[in-house]
């Protein structure tokens, strides 16, 4: 069994086939002229030995090479990239199978924020009527911790619509260092969710430790290949058109180990990419293809995902505007480009500009969530709980988002119109018109409890009051009390023995940890 996701029968596409071809041709042209800058020596050597034109850039503050990729190198890599990518999970029922030509959407959390937003509900007395007490949410921002990461993985495990987990918060405890951050974020996440876990890597030196942790969990190297419970996101190409030294290293090492890798590019239209749609599309597509090409040269057949995180610049600050309408357009275009190559796509939706949950948040999120979902990306990073672009994570918002995705999933069910259904309703119709009341109500009941009727909004209050936040908070608390299936005690013991640096307080079986 694998997770079902939601299949979009007729994906929404904005570009004509001719426009897709035009973007593709422009991207291929960009990769040879002007080409890319590469700050990673190994990558430059690999590209050179496979036919790319590579020249050292001098003078330069950092070692740098100018790369011109011939079209053949890129198209060959596109062909070599697997058209189906499997993302495993601790619970095999949570596995995802993504086919590049099948618009089956999986909803995913993410991504790493520095700030964790707590909420409480103090009450206030109404001035005009002191007998009335009002409950108002108050949000408090603080730095994220490893305990927060555990909590978010725990809740995400129980969010029905969430198919995979991208770590939500950067762990900034006093005892977390550059050296032990990766092992702790991997263990905190994997121990609290049985869904697929994807993240970026902080320190390449820790890659083998986290891979070993995953191997211990699934039972060995071969088992990890069969059930890759972890995958990596790497922004190896910095816009515009530059292979970065460290993330390119991480990417190549991940490819060597056969891990599923997201080749992610996040240009900002207006600053690091042209402001016009045609321009950012040609550039982001070139950047992702460059990464895919390098990945296939490092390890032909390594599973890669076409990762797109394009965004438009805000005109007032030149910061990212994830809530802008154009951001959704770019993402939808990227989904179409990935499908053109039959490579599974990682796309972005639901990121908003606002700093706290509220009306603008809901509007911005739902707008992109609905539209980008309809375009049929396979792996939709839809930012459960994410606020203030990529800066803040709020667990309450993640619970709210789950309710919205339930509505979206319900909406996207296939219509049930067939001979049998038609015969049944025609019989009903004839019966009802023959009665004095002429009401179909009695026929509601058999379907009411079958799941065929969409439920009321999950956080609907009594009467006319809007209690959405408080009701979502209660739901969040309820999910936190629901147990999760932790890693087996014996495996946990081996992980703590063989993987250095994991904080003892993360061992749920150690009675001394409190």
């Amino acid at each position: 069994m694998v997770r079902e996701g939601i299949l979009i029968d007729k994906p929404f596409e904005r570009m004509t086939h001719e426009q897709v071809l035009m973007i593709h041709d422009a991207s291929i042209e960009i990769l040879s002229d002007p080409g890319l800058l590469c700050y990673n020596k190994t990558a430059a050597e690999i590209l050179h030995s496979n036919g790319a034109e590579v020249t050292a850039v001098t003078p330069s503050d950092l070692p740098c090479w100018h790369i011109k990729m011939p079209a053949r190198l890129v198209t060959d890599a596109i062909e070599a990239a697997p058209k189906t990518v499997k993302l495993g999970a601790r619970n095999p029922d949570n596995m995802l199978v993504m086919k590049g030509d099948e618009p089956r959407v999986y909803f995913v959390s993410g991504s790493e924020t520095n700030i964790w937003l707590d909420v409480d509900f103090p009450t206030y007395v109404k001035k005009s009527d002191p007998s009335v007490e009002l409950r108002v949410p108050e949000f408090h921002a603080r730095r994220g911790t490893v305990a927060d990461l555990c909590q978010s993985a725990h809740v995400c495990e129980h969010l029905e619509t969430l198919d995979a987990y991208i770590r939500t918060v950067n762990i900034q405890d006093r005892d977390i260092t550059e050296d032990n951050k990766d092992v702790n974020k991997f263990f905190a996440s994997l121990n609290n969710t049985t869904k697929h876990f994807m993240t970026g890597l902080t320190n390449l030196q820790q890659l083998d430790n986290v891979v070993h942790m995953a191997e211990l969990i699934v039972g060995g190297k071969e088992q990890l290949k069969e059930n890759p419970i972890i995958s990596l996101i790497t922004c190896l190409v910095k816009s515009p058109l530059q292979f970065v030294e460290d993330t390119t290293d991480t990417f190549m090492e991940g490819c060597k180990r056969g891990l599923p890798m997201v080749v992610s590019s996040s240009p900002q239209a207006g600053s690091t990419a042209p402001i016009k749609e045609v321009g950012i599309m040609a550039q982001i597509n070139a950047e992702v293809l460059a990464g895919i090409t390098l990945g296939q040269l490092v390890n032909r057949g390594t599973p890669v995902i076409y990762g797109s995180v394009p965004v438009r610049a805000r005109m007032d600050t030149l910061g990212d505007s994830y809530g802008s309408i154009e951001t959704s357009q770019y993402n939808i275009d990227c989904v179409q480009m990935a499908r053109f190559y039959n490579i599974p796509n990682y796309s972005t939706a639901g990121v908003c500009d606002t700093k706290t949950p509220g009306q603008q948040t809901s509007i911005e999120r739902l707008f992109s969530d609905i539209l980008v979902t309809l375009s049929g990306p396979q792996y939709l990073h839809c930012a459960y709980g994410l606020l203030d672009c990529n800066s803040v994570f709020c667990l309450l918002q993640a619970v709210l988002d789950d309710a919205h995705f339930q509505m979206l999933k319900f909406f996207l069910r296939r219509p049930r119109i067939d001979e049998q259904e038609m015969a049944t309703v025609l019989k009903q119709l004839r019966e009802v018109v023959a009665t004095p009341q002429k009401l179909y109500i009695r026929y509601i009941r058999p379907v009411m409890r079958s799941g065929e009727i969409s439920p009321a909004y999950a956080f609907e209050g009594d009467g006319e009051t809007d209690d959405v936040f408080y009701l979502a908070y209660e739901r969040m608390q309820e999910l936190l009390t629901k147990p999760v299936e932790h890693i087996h005690p014996a495996t946990t013991a081996r992980i703590f023995d063989e993987v250095p640096g994991i904080l003892p307080r993360l061992n749920v079986y150690d009675e001394r940890r409190q």
Partner: protein
């Protein structure tokens, strides 16, 4: 034997099963006797009609009401049960009349002249019938004169007037004026309802009560 039938009757009211064709809620009970069949079985077993009503139908409806209040049941469940009880009351009515057992009251209901909306009115009628009232549904777009004639001739205890539109709700006031002019106002309690109507408007036209929905109507009547 008769106790078993009464218990089954009560349970089938809770399940909202009018007849053996109905499914029920907890499991598929299609093919087993529903409220109509069980009422007939009870009568065949010589169970007194008042016992059928109090220990079977009303007791079942009490549970349904509790389940509705706790949000376990929804309006379609409540209506299904009320409809089943209404069908049982149709069977029992001649016997109750023979035995001089009075219903909870005679209730006339109509959508006023100019208004053809009847969903709300029909739901109210089903619920009241299920609650034990003798309901006379005069229909939709009913001329004021026809309503007044019915009040004069049939002497119902209650009159329910429904209007959906702001343009037709004024007719409710005309009906009440007509009752006053005909010397009938004190003989009948007038309840009004419908999307356009409000508590304030009900007071303005001199109605006895405004009912927000069918359940409210049952509550209001129980207060009389």
């Amino acid at each position: 034997m008769s106790e078993d039938i009464i218990a089954a009757l009560k349970e089938n009211v809770v399940q909202g099963r009018k007849s053996l064709e109905d499914e029920g809620i907890d499991e598929d009970l299609t093919g087993t006797p529903g409220v109509v069949e069980l009422t007939q079985q009870a009568l065949d077993a010589k169970v007194p009609p008042d016992k059928i009503i109090t220990e079977g139908l009303t007791a079942g409806m009490q549970i349904v009401g509790d389940k509705f209040a706790s949000k376990e049941y929804f309006i379609p469940d409540m209506l299904a049960s009320a409809e089943a009880v209404g069908a049982a009351m149709d069977i029992l009515k001649p016997l109750l009349e023979e035995a001089h057992v009075e219903t909870k009251g005679k209730f006339a209901i109509a959508t006023v002249k100019g208004d053809i909306h009847d969903i709300g009115k029909n739901i109210v009628a089903i619920l009241l019938k299920g609650a034990g009232y003798e309901v006379h549904d005069l229909g939709i777009d009913v001329p004021t004169e026809k309503i007044l004639d019915f009040i004069r001739d049939e002497k119902p205890d209650y009159l329910g007037l429904s209007a959906l539109l702001t343009t037709t709700m004024v007719v409710m006031g005309e009906v009440i004026e007509g009752l006053k002019e005909g010397g009938l106002r004190d003989s009948v309690k007038v309840l009004v309802g419908g999307a356009a109507v409000s508590e304030e408007y009900a007071r303005e036209i001199g109605a006895d009560a405004y009912c927000i929905d069918g359940f409210d109507a049952v509550r209001v009547l129980e207060g009389y």
